[in-house]
Symmetry: C2
Subunit: 267 residues, 2 copies
Amino acid sequence: MKKEEIIKQIRTKKSFLCVGLDTDISKIPKFLLSYDDPIFEFNKRIIDATKDLCVAYKPNIAFYESMGAKGWTSLEKTIKYIPKNIFTIADAKRGDIGNTAKKYAETFFSTYNFDSITVAPYMGDDSVTPFLEYSNKWTIILGLTSNKGSNSFQNLVLENGSKLYKEVLSVSSSWGNTDNTMFVVGATKAQDLKEIRKIIPNHFLLIPGIGVQGGDLEEVIKNGLNSDIGVLINSSRGIIYAGDDEKFAEKARLKAEIIQQQMAKYL
Amino acid sequence: MKKEEIIKQIRTKKSFLCVGLDTDISKIPKFLLSYDDPIFEFNKRIIDATKDLCVAYKPNIAFYESMGAKGWTSLEKTIKYIPKNIFTIADAKRGDIGNTAKKYAETFFSTYNFDSITVAPYMGDDSVTPFLEYSNKWTIILGLTSNKGSNSFQNLVLENGSKLYKEVLSVSSSWGNTDNTMFVVGATKAQDLKEIRKIIPNHFLLIPGIGVQGGDLEEVIKNGLNSDIGVLINSSRGIIYAGDDEKFAEKARLKAEIIQQQMAKYL
């Protein structure tokens, strides 16, 4: 998907919401377990209920992988079910040497036809460039994560006085361009967003952590938006697990609507 | 698998060779393509031909993933086929926030019953500790990688004068212990091995890069071994693609034997 199409979707729907499909067999409503493919059935209903309110879906690959081969089948059906004008993100955080990265790119861009994949940059340029070779596909590089453990290394100070994650943003933004690269930036660090925008003013940012992870939507909007809008804000558990009965999809829609309406104020 | 058992296998077989199962449908002998599951058929024959010469098998998950659901079925059959006294490594390089890391641990330790998995430490402690909660399983943390791109970030100098990868080794070695944690250390940096051994003298190291990636076996042995032996040396393409006809498995065995015999000199 081209950047212009993403921006058009955002302006049309007045939303830059991404719904995270962290679909966990132990958390979905029990009545779905009698279906042939409960994971897909859950996703299908969430998609039907939210597709006019969001511009992206982000399946978290770990949840599908943990189900073995049948999890990958549920994932495949899910991706095929998502309307073509909605951006798809494989939240896979892959990162490996060149010939292996090439295989991961093949998996998510060819075998499953995702629009984008999240990747870890720490193995360096040759671990990311194979993803950048696909046209109309996006590589979403981990810039700064929203978990507590992000302090272990990402905030280390280098001899030049810069923090490690800033060096990572600066260096890895040169591997591709603003038409094929986005960055994951943890929303709980909204105070850092201003500084991040100094390093990468024009890239799209994927911001997780609204809701369960505690980010502040208005803060993020104030510091993260650029002239292209330039942000996708993800919410997973806060939306998809809003209900645990037969009305779970309607309840998910209500949660998505609250976020979308806040976003609409800025568009 | 307990450490004592790994060491016993090494001493019995006079080998610390790990065979990397980077099984690529486009590189295996053509005659295998007529089989129902060519990937498994290839692995089965490689395992039969090398199992007395190596102490570990390391499937590179990217190669299975790229085949979709059927690739995961080939992987499952492969893992079940590997003799129980041989250490298995899921080369997956996963790394994500806590609740996702937990799912990845479940995938590789429960669903597929691997003995170990490679993980990326850069998202911090909470991205690794869920793997450490499994008893008799191993977490193999990326310490220093052997690819050219490792220079992008891993060798950055911190304000305390230490290189980033050394800080990573030092900090992440405190998350677990020498009975549940190993480190990936790129063999092409054999000159760095001495210094690495100062930081983590007692951990097992998984050393890739012998062969195609250009590492020097004797150099690695000289600088990497400890009183437990403490190293697993991986070779993938150099062994499994030694031949491309009906005798590919015998040819792979010959390549594995050359390495094993060099190792035997030190055991």
